[in-house]
């Protein structure tokens, strides 16, 4: 059964021009998707396609001038603003794009305990923090350090450990490999896969298609706010002939490890 179902989600922004006319821009249009327990869904698209906006709409963290339409369900129940406020940080977790979201004034250990307490699963046992960190290849000493002393890869893994501690059923990771080298990228993606293996539903937003494909079951491709294709991850092989959508094939063949072609996709 799907943990999250999104039906015809639209996110639009309103502003007024000089003549006080109302201008509406739809940044996410008619997006429908679902993700089940134990599944990794990769959300892929060019910058500006609306990937992060979609994640923020699920969390209920859209900017004030944005308007969301359509329906979302979490575990079969309507996911409206009060539900989002209640589920955020315990059953639904977002790993934000920037590691700057960690509190600069609190140690890693404190923040890990906060995440656990907020979700109603406080870490009281001695050594619980060290154990939570070790699952993500972080030494126990990291608990006593402040975020600015961490490398990008370590900070990212601290956020993964906080997500694990919250026990969320649905995890959204927004560009988890931004700015990381190949080793750290592989490590972070492996951690995300372990979430799915532990029975969570994972949505990973990434423009690093080869890295995302290593862990994803399905790939949803977004272009200018719309779902243009949904493909099985195992269809991305050889010259992409198993892919149904032209856009997916163009993306696949433009990768340097494939054709590095610059063919335009059919609209």
């Amino acid at each position: 059964m799907s943990v999250l179902e999104i039906e015809r989600l639209t996110v639009s922004f309103h502003r007024r021009d000089g003549l006080r006319r109302r201008i509406t821009t739809d940044c996410v249009r008619d997006v429908s998707l679902a993700v089940a327990r134990g599944e990794v869904l990769a959300l892929f698209g060019a910058s500006g396609a609306g990937k992060s906006l979609l994640a923020h709409a699920v969390m209920g963290l859209l900017p004030p001038n944005a308007l969301a339409g359509g329906t979302m369900r979490f575990d079969g129940h309507v996911l409206d603003a009060p539900a989002q406020a209640a589920l955020r940080g315990n059953r639904i977790a977002l790993i934000p794009q920037s590691v700057g979201h960690l509190d600069p004034l609190a140690t890693v250990g404190q923040q890990l305990r906060w995440a656990a307490r907020r979700a109603g699963r406080p870490m009281t046992a001695p050594g619980a923090v060290a154990e939570a960190l070790s699952r993500f290849d972080l030494a126990p000493a990291v608990a006593g350090t402040f975020p600015h002393t961490l490398s990008g890869g370590m900070a990212r893994r601290v956020m993964l450990a906080m997500t694990m501690a919250s026990g969320a059923d649905l995890v959204l990771a927004d560009e988890p490999s931004n700015g990381l080298d190949a080793d750290n990228t592989a490590r972070v993606f492996r951690c995300l896969k372990s979430f799915a293996e532990a029975g969570k539903a994972v949505i990973v937003i990434s423009h690093d298609l080869p890295a995302a494909l290593k862990i994803a079951d399905r790939v949803v491709l977004l272009d200018r706010g719309q779902v243009v294709a949904e493909e099985r991850a195992d269809a991305f092989t050889s010259d992409g002939e198993a892919l149904c959508a032209g856009y997916a094939r163009s993306i696949w063949n433009a990768l340097p490890q494939n054709g590095f072609s610059r063919a335009c996709h059919e609209a």
Partner: protein, 197 residues
Amino acid sequence: MRLEAAAIGFGFGGGAPVLDGVDLALESGRILGLTGKSGQGKSTLGRILARHLLPTRGRVLIDGAASPSTGFNPVQLVHQTAIFAVNPRWKIGRIVSEAFAPDESLLQAFGIRRQWFDRFPHELSGGELQRVALLRALAPGTRFLIADEITSMLDPIAQSEIWHALIDVSAKRDIGILAISHDLALLGRVAERTVTL
């Protein structure tokens, strides 16, 4: 022409040196790849080559002479995040014309539309703005381009288009390019040779 880094040393604030006796040479019309793990000093070396930073030891030489410290910088640097490379209060047209007046063929090669010239940087997508940043860096006086992870936040199609355009420009105008990236597959496509830091 030859851009050379000779025995470069650099450290931040008296800490352990980031670069210690690094040598690197870049030839006109050639594309050299530079890779290495995070924190090895790839971007720092790029900034030193473009004179955005001065090395604590060693020298940067163009054809054996110290690179000029005034006038147009023949070594242009483009980095990952174009939004930090432009004045947010200038429109695109002014940003480009600060460097030079590009002709239609160059605009076309980089997929840049004239309509953008009337917009502010935040009104373009990251990929669009990166194309503008590259265009600006390719002024007539540019001899070398330091391309530091220029396409790492772009989708594969945009990445392929931009690099094909750069490979063309490099050959036509005899510009040497240092391609800094984590992506070995990409460097394998664009660079003749890749060095690891």
